[in-house]
């Protein structure tokens, strides 16, 4: 029987990042992926790193991850398309103008740069609709090419000796007391010393195998891709409504169909100069088909901010299933107390790309050192038990 030191379930961006950082420590690691590498949510997103949107303690984790991205292209020997463009937060609704300004002030208090655009600056920006009422430009936010990040991590992990097994589904685990000793897959049974559950939207089913109830379900996000357009000055734009829909602190009694589908514009011009038009959030089980209605709302909302998009061609659409923690929307990270050798890294929701580097680094450190990483303390599985 094949033996591996660490077995990671899930070959998405999170599993790949953990594999990379473990392999950097010289740890022998095997990644087992049900489908194709980066074939789930890791390959169906916009590559945004929206630092400004988060509140502590998640913000602390996000900031550390953002710092790791600074040196990651060099470390992986690959141009990751890291674009430190900052975010342009925009409002159409006069009522939201004061909220946006408060938001900008709070960012400054936290040492995250933010400045309001003057009405002259707004008018000078020909891309933006005339009826955009206000905009705040932040500086901490960035974007990357998610495929370059994923394949960059995989390729370096492989160079360091990591093994990636795709088309290999975990069917069951064998326990010995509080320890998982073997994993049965559709191909072979593997012996292991440590198990990491990084199975994203499907991480609940891996938890079920060891008797843990992981409160994660798939949340669908749909995205449109435009043809390439000339390089814009502002390449990462966000509808202020996004904050309400993404962070769940909006009006609970949403009356509009758009807000029910969680549609608020997140617009990113990729290194290839195509724009991705997001974002939506709804629950449809494991169905990752796009729907005409949601794509319609995405397209319509985008043209309200960027009128030139009206005649710009859409060449593709896709949807991804984000691992969403339905208790508090926060990631679930670190060692599980109930078992001796089981680690978890899931529930990243729409922040898998943002949090991949710090998740990989800290999970690897916990596995190697046996000590808990303080930054993960607010995100442990144990928070669900104290309720």
């Amino acid at each position: 029987m094949k033996k591996t030191e660490v077995l990671i379930v899930g070959g998405g961006i999170i599993g790949s990042s953990i594999a990379y950082y473990l392999s950097k420590h010289g740890v022998e690691v095997t990644v087992v992926e049900k489908g194709k590498l980066l074939g789930g949510a890791s390959g169906a997103n916009q590559g945004g790193i929206p630092v400004s949107l988060f509140e502590p303690p998640l913000l602390d984790l996000v900031r550390e991850s953002r710092k790791l991205y600074d040196g990651l292209s060099q470390e992986l020997g690959e141009d990751l398309g890291f674009d430190e463009t900052g975010l342009l937060l925009i409002v159409l609704d006069k009522d939201q103008e004061s909220l946006l300004n408060q938001f900008g002030k709070r960012l400054e208090q936290r040492g995250l740069g933010a400045e309001s655009l003057s009405s002259n600056e707004l008018q000078a920006e020909s891309l933006l609709a005339d009826n955009v009422k206000a905009a705040v430009k932040t500086s901490a936010d960035a974007s990357v090419d998610p495929f370059k990040v994923g394949f960059g991590l995989i390729s370096q992990a492989k160079a360091n000796g990591a093994t990636f097994l795709k088309d290999t589904e975990v069917k069951d685990v064998i326990m010995s007391g509080r320890k998982v000793t073997q994993v049965k897959t559709t191909r072979e049974t593997l012996q292991l010393n440590y198990l990491v559950n990084a199975a994203g939207a499907r991480s609940k089913s891996i938890g079920d195998m060891v008797g843990l109830d992981i409160p994660v379900k798939p949340r669908r996000g749909q995205i449109l891709v435009t043809e390439p357009t000339p390089r814009a000055k502002y390449r990462y734009l966000m509808d202020f409504d996004y904050i309400a829909t993404a962070l769940g602190n909006g009006d609970k009694e949403e009356k509009s169909r758009r807000m029910k589908l969680g549609v608020a514009s997140s617009l990113i011009q990729e290194p290839s100069s195509n724009w991705t038009i997001g974002a939506s959030r709804d629950f449809a089980g494991f169905n990752k088909k796009t729907t005409r209605e949601t794509l319609g709302y995405l397209a319509d909302r985008a043209t309200k901010f960027l009128p030139d998009f009206e005649n710009c061609n859409i060449i593709r659409s896709y949807a991804g299933l984000r691992p969403y923690c339905h208790v508090d929307g926060k990631p679930i990270l670190g060692r599980i107390e109930e078992l001796d050798n089981f680690f978890i890294a899931t529930g990243h929701a729409g922040e898998g790309i943002t949090l991949a580097p710090i998740t990989g680094k800290l999970l690897a450190r916990e596995i190697v050192s046996g000590r808990k990483a303080k930054l993960l303390d607010s995100f442990r599985y144990s928070r669900f038990e104290s309720e």
């Binding site: 194709k36 590498l37 980066l38 074939g39 390959g43 495929f147 394949f151 995989i154 390729s155 492989k158 990636f164 795709k166 449109l224 435009t226 043809e227 390439p228 169909r257 758009r258 290839s272 038009i277 796009t290 005409r292 209605e293 794509l295 319609g296 709302y297 995405l298 397209a299 319509d300 985008a302 043209t303 998009f309 009206e310 005649n311 710009c312 061609n313 859409i314 060449i315 593709r316 659409s317 896709y318």
Partner: protein, 111 residues
Amino acid sequence: MESVKDSSSEPDEEGSEKIVCRCEEVTEGEIRESIRTYKLDTVAEVKRATRAGMGLCQGRSCEISIKRILSEETRRDISEISADSVRPPTIPVETGVIADVIRGGGGNEED
């Protein structure tokens, strides 16, 4: 000009500079290298790893060439290599046309 279709059935180093995906300017060599590095066996994986087929034509011109390269590299018959999944729209459509689905409130209120 020699096309990819005319290249020999053996992995061909001479063809490495040939452009397979014209939209994204991906060469045959890049495609072969990623198939070998990441053990790719589907068109969708090649697309994610190299951007081949991600451009304006969405693989309509290059998918057959990518399949052929995959069949050579993975030593399978080309018929065993399935097409990439369809991601609407199948031809480029203006954003405004996609938005029209929800515009007008679904009723005749404007009338």
